[in-house]
């Protein structure tokens, strides 16, 4: 039994192996980009809009609102990063019900890549907002002795992000396979639907946690910013 789609090599591009994780990632990317292109090529800014545009607007405005509530900041700079995390993970997880589709999020390599993206995004947004020295200064607060713990904290939460998503998705697939062997009828279908909910929840958790990490890196500055109402 192949637990990771990384091991499922579909072909080669030169010396690079194209495994199922990369291939299905491309599929998910193609679906997302194509759907987006097809809808947004004929955008209407009047009151009468198409149902697909309406769907995308609800999606984007929902993401923006979620980011705004989580970070208490304008969602503009964070929307592409956090939104892409959510859309990619949610689409990949939802496509898990399609027979033959192996969700890339069930690959530890993929979730690690996403966690590393968050790991890189947190300091990038922090530095962009506050400057390099101010951001790095946060690592030695409240004392310089906290520097190792802060670094470990950064790494551990990245690891937690990667392993949480991987574990949930991989376990869903594994449980589905095991239940097929034990109870071949009906019950796996219910579990697949449960997997859909789990997949959406995991996508939401991943995106919100990423936003929380990014926002927390800027919290110190925001805390020191005098309130205009004071």
């Amino acid at each position: 039994m192949t637990l990771s789609p990384d091991d499922h090599i579909l072909g080669w591009i030169g010396p690079l192996p194209i495994n199922a994780t990369i291939a299905y990632t491309w599929l998910v990317m193609a679906i997302l980009v194509t759907c987006s292109y097809l809808v947004t090529r004929r955008l209407n800014d009047s009151v009468r809009i198409s149902r697909w545009q309406n769907l995308l607007e609800i999606l984007v405005s929902g993401l923006s609102e979620q980011i705004r509530q989580t970070s208490r900041q304008e969602p503009g700079p964070y929307l592409p990063f956090v939104g892409t995390l959510f859309l990619f993970i949610a689409t990949a997880n939802l496509l898990a019900v399609v027979p033959g589709f192996s969700p890339p999020t069930a690959s530890l390599s993929c979730t690690t890549a996403l966690a590393l993206a968050v790991l890189a995004a947190v300091p990038l947004f922090g530095i962009a907002q506050r400057g390099l020295l101010a951001y790095l200064g946060e690592y030695i607060k409240p004392s310089v002795f906290m520097l190792p713990f802060n670094i470990i904290g950064e790494l551990s939460r990245t690891l937690a992000l990667a392993v949480r998503l991987y574990g949930n998705m991989m376990s869903g697939s594994v449980i589905g396979i095991i239940l097929l062997g034990i109870v071949p009828l009906f019950f796996p279908i219910l579990l697949q639907f449960l997997g859909l909910i789990t997949g959406l929840v995991q996508a939401y958790i991943f995106a919100v946690l990423a936003m929380v990490f990014i926002a927390s890196a800027q919290a110190a500055r925001n805390d020191r910013t005098p309130n205009p109402g004071d």
């Binding site: 990369i22 009047s46 995308l56 929307l79 530890l108 590393l116």
Partner: protein, 255 residues
């Protein structure tokens, strides 16, 4: 459970590409469309608010104009009523004046017609009375009415007082004239001349004999100072006076 770092790197790049693509094809267009719609709706709301304010202002203007028109209309109506009242009074006064004129004219015409009628009646009566008298006289005395009148006239002439005779002779006999309803025959003229000689023995009597223009029954001796006459109109005038009295009394009873 191993991490394939090549796959990790590929997925990392895939994620960045996907982020760029979605930013290009999803987030930016959708956010721009929503922002533009929001701006359009805000602009529409502002325009609607401006139009509402404008409409309210125009409504106020129209209300003010209506009030002015109402005031103007009331003033016009009052003036028109006053003018109509003046015109009515003027027309009524004019009508009363015209009525008065017509009434006067009618009364005048009535009086004239009454006079004419009375005249005609008098003429007819005089003709009838004269004819009746003439016939009665002829039946009773086998004498012409004119002859009887002439005899009576001669009697009156003979009975003149001295004063009347002086007046008659004062102007001279050459200006005397005797007018009769019929032309007198020669015998009558001679009798008249004899009578004049007896009355005025010292005067040279020369009388002109004439015929009365309206052929009424009567005899008139005229001189510049004195006139002796007998005319049947005298009787008719009295009769007409009595008739007028009777008619006026009847008219007053009718009113």
């Amino acid at each position: 459970m191993q991490i394939d770092w090549l796959t990790v790197a590929a997925q990392w790049i895939n994620f960045l590409i996907l982020m760029w693509l979605l930013r290009r094809f999803l987030y930016q267009p959708i956010v721009q469309a929503m922002d533009k719609r929001q701006q359009t709706m805000a602009a529409n709301a502002r325009a609607a608010e401006q139009k509402m304010q404008q409409a309210e202002q125009e409504a106020d203007n129209y209300r003010n104009q209506l009030a002015e028109l109402e005031t103007h209309r009331t003033a016009l109506m009052t003036a028109a009523r006053q003018a109509a009242e003046n015109e009515r009074e003027k027309l009524a006064k004019q009508a009363r004046a015209e009525f008065e004129i017509l009434s006067q004219q009618w009364r005048h015409d009535l009086a004239r017609e009454k006079t004419e009628c009375q005249n005609r009646l008098c003429n007819e009566l005089s003709r009838l009375i004269t004819a009746t008298a003439r016939k009665a006289l002829q039946d009773l005395s086998s004498q012409e009415l004119e002859q009887a009148l002439f005899d009576n006239f001669l009697n009156r002439l003979n009975a003149l007082s001295t004063r009347e005779k002086q007046l008659l002779s004062a102007s001279g006999p050459e200006d005397m004239a005797l007018a009769s309803s019929r032309e007198l025959d020669e015998a009558s003229r001679t009798r008249f001349a004899d009578a004049m000689k007896r009355i005025l023995p010292h005067s040279n009597v020369n009388v002109r004999f004439e015929v009365l223009p309206d052929s009424r029954l009567g005899l008139i001796l005229t001189s510049p100072a004195y006139t002796l006459e007998w005319r049947v109109e005298r009787y008719f005038e009295e009769l007409q006076a009595e008739l007028d009295t009777l008619l006026n009394r009847a008219a007053s009873h009718a009113e």
